[in-house]
Symmetry: C2
Subunit: 223 residues, 2 copies
Amino acid sequence: MQTGMRTDTSPTLADKLATAIADGILNGTLPPGERLDEVGLAEQHGVSRTPVREALRQLAMSGLIDMRPRKGAIVSKATPEEIESLFVAMAEMEATCARLAAMSMTPIERRRLQARHESMVALAAAGETEAYSDANVAFHSAIYAGAHNAPLAEYAMSLRRRVGPFRRAQFRMDGRLLRSNQEHDAVVRAILTGDAAGAHAAMIHHVSLVEDAFEAFAAINAA
Amino acid sequence: MQTGMRTDTSPTLADKLATAIADGILNGTLPPGERLDEVGLAEQHGVSRTPVREALRQLAMSGLIDMRPRKGAIVSKATPEEIESLFVAMAEMEATCARLAAMSMTPIERRRLQARHESMVALAAAGETEAYSDANVAFHSAIYAGAHNAPLAEYAMSLRRRVGPFRRAQFRMDGRLLRSNQEHDAVVRAILTGDAAGAHAAMIHHVSLVEDAFEAFAAINAA
DNA sequence: GGGGACAAAATTGCATACAATTGAGGCGGG
DNA sequence: CCCGCCTCAATTGTATGCAATTTTGTCCCC
């Protein structure tokens, strides 16, 4: 799903293309720096250039791709500094959502968050990386939703997507799963007790460690 | 300027149209709910529908307009709850930027912020609404920039634009200028002393009052 | 062998043309 | 008088065609 995307009653070709291309970027088929040729994409999807151009423009606004007039589009390829900024921004957004969630989640939402978290304990212990990763996204999304603020939640999700291409395989690093789960525990406890400041701090801490993991990963790959 | 807009080397027609339409929305020429007819806009600007459509898609992603497949585009017309969410989101973003600015502004940036603030004291005292309003935007922009985080700064600015259509004439309310200036003083003091938590709190307080002003304004207009 | 100018190919930007869906208005039946 | 259906105009979605700029490849000269 795409941030701020048009409400989809019978999605248009351009919309479908936008999600298709975004998927390609997120799952690594289209790596950062890859050139996005209009006719190529058009032929590849069996459509004309017109909807392709509209899809590209939409993706450009989301930050997933870069367009330069008369130069074409490429998958966004950020410098280490820009990637760092993205991670910091994501940490701040997640922390803000966590703080708001601590203040405004309904009792039902709190119970569900706790249940979700507890179910992840088992996954972490069993080392089920893939299932944990999926559950992790759902966990964070639940916190976005708990903030009860659509613009913030959407932007947080958009940032999560945007850093996606740069954080592949993060969970494969030693002990990430168990550690992530412990940090979730701190976040959940703070939210459940309505400790806004604590939720903020715990979430910043959690997401910052993800960033550290990325940096370690990047360092390994650079070597 | 448009958030996440393509880097402009010889802007394309679609880009120029996007800013033109955005200007129309922001200055009230195109009020919320106004229908954005493609052929109308095309004739009005002397271009074909193609660049108009691309501009609209761009604006849709920014949240300034709403598009529904085969139904056309309208200037975003939010419910009171959605407007409330926008104001809350803006307050949170501004506060986050203020906190980061308190932590990471350079000495030069701090001095400039202080100078800018002091120059606004005179404007507030003299009741120069228009000049103060311009300076106010620059003041907040300086804090965004001081956060040293492009994604957060851009999103904060984008939210500021997005609430624009709903906060017209806010400064005309009694005593807003002086009060705004006093609140700025608290924000600036916190930032200059590196008081991150204080900067956050002061900014939330400041922007929340703007929201209250809006609500009062909306209440008057509804009556 | 290296570098620069020119030409051709490729690619983007814009316009026009066509198709398809929506919404409105009219018409007839109840 | 009201309701449903049908038809048609209006509007959006998509394709194609053309113009302009960028890029690439080649040739010539140094």
